[in-house]
């Protein structure tokens, strides 16, 4: 079952909409609260990343009884050095974004911690695609 959400760059007030919607869906599907928490935290971080860095983005969530797959695709500046971006504390966020309490350099590491697999591909000047998978049966 597939769900799609649009993300608007720069609008922090709306960040978290996809995460909250997916959370409601997972609760209705009786998914273990611990797994819901991991999925939602990772998705929220991903949403904030798009809002903070990109111009616009799309989130696709695909759910079956085996796993939850999330693809976060954005149009934006892209990530020149993915290894660097994966480091805890590394951030390119602007002063304004930091002032709002975001941009601590925890986004990608936090997503990695809360997902079973995380794949990033990015092309500078075009955008980034992050793919997350969380397995329901281990």
């Amino acid at each position: 079952m597939e769900f799609n959400y649009e993300v608007e760059g720069g609008n922090f007030a709306k960040a978290g909409y996809a995460a909250s919607s997916v959370k409601k869906v997972l609760k209705e599907l009786n998914v273990d609260p611990k797994i819901i928490k991991r999925v939602v935290v990772a998705l929220y971080e991903g949403e904030v990343n798009v809002v903070a860095h990109a111009y616009r983005g799309n989130i696709k969530v695909d759910i079956d009884t085996e796993r939850i797959f999330i693809e976060i695709k954005d149009e934006g500046p892209g990530i020149p050095d993915i290894n660097l971006a994966m480091q805890v504390g590394y951030s390119t966020a602007s002063a304004m974004v930091r002032e709002m309490g975001f941009g601590a350099g925890m986004g990608l590491p936090n997503m990695k911690r809360n997902a079973d697999t995380l794949d990033i591909s990015s092309s500078v000047g075009k955008g980034t695609v992050v793919e997350l998978t969380t397995y329901l049966v281990k």
Partner: protein
Amino acid sequence: MSEQQFYHALKVDRDKCFGCVHCMNECPTDAIRIRDGIATIRKDWCIDCGECMKACPVDAIYVEQDDFDDIFRYKYRVAILPSVFIGQFSKVISVDEIIEILKGLGFTHIVPAEATVDVINEAMLEAYDSDIEKPLISTFCPSIVRLIQVRFPGLVHNIMPIKPPIDTTAIYYRKRLIDEGNNPEEIGIFYVTPCASKIATVKAPVGEDESFVDGVINMDFLYNKVYHILKNRNVAREANETDAFEYISPKALRWSLTEGESSSMKGRCLAIDEIHNVIKFLNKVENDEIINVDFIELRACDQSCAGGVLLSENRFLTVERMKKRAENLEQMQIKAKEISFDHHQYIKERLSIKPIEPRSMMGLDNDMATAIKKMERVRRIMCFLPGIDCGACGSPSCEGLARDIVLKDANLSSCVFMQRMMEKSKKLDPQHSIRIIEKTWGKDRLDKDCYKKGAKNEGN
């Protein structure tokens, strides 16, 4: 789980309810449906917050209470009285005067519900240093505990397993009376409740095996009695300042107001009142959007207990009066009744409750594969429903109806818009669609009625 666990104090008066949608639209957990022209409450979904009762235009939703005369079955009749009760009276009426009237009504002892707040506060501060997940949440407001169980099952572990003050006060006072040499069988402890949820937990405690009080009295009932006596007195009497009332600390007096708990906790604390505000906030907490918060004080009513559904006076006035009374206690340096060391220990040993278990009511099916199929059906049905959430089908929203259809509690033809479309394509006979509407809204519902609220003969 026994059936007792789902006891609810909120009841619908079938004679008064005329099946409007006010309560259904207000219910924060979507627990209400209109069937046969009457509001029906889904027991497992209801958290006893009382929003429906506040919204009802014809007072058809009421709170069940024990018979007042039940108190006379006991020789010692103790009223556990929350501070908001006295907070409703203006400052010209002294506490002693109110206590005197309450005793005249039959109580032998009046105890402030917040008498044991200091012991609880101590335990809360200890919980801060324990390994319980942060942000910590207290059990103070029973509707909040139930809300977390049914809607935020992932947050049950954040609830500190400590009794709310009214329970510890009941335990404390019963012990005191027994220690004074009284026969336990002759002691009746009655809680004067400001809300419906407290009654529900007294009748079916969450995380407890038994209740600590012998009965519950609705606060509005008692307020009316006391106010009536005050109004019918010839002269404002000088109350004799005897040992009538055991004062509590200003902190305890403010405990049931917004920021009452949060101002006495360590670390970064927030206070949120009103159920819809709480739901929005807990949503964020669950997403980890709000981090580094140590304690959140959550109350179902606006202005906390001063906004309780069984309070009679305006909640903002009540808050102001209580704050004034607390300030007066501070200024006049009135000593609060101290709990003896032994009793302090006795309460402390009985503070903890069992872990609160989740009982989510959001699942479409216990089996995930089936739940996915059901959700796919909900989403397909949503393609057809108008999406305006009018409530004319008897469900709180189009999505609610779609779920009800999938869970076999409604039909696609329950929707009045769908009915028109079905009539147009000759799939539904107009007479049949009238019968469908009558099934939701009751017979004669479509007939002219000049006596309804707002119509020309209202009140005749």
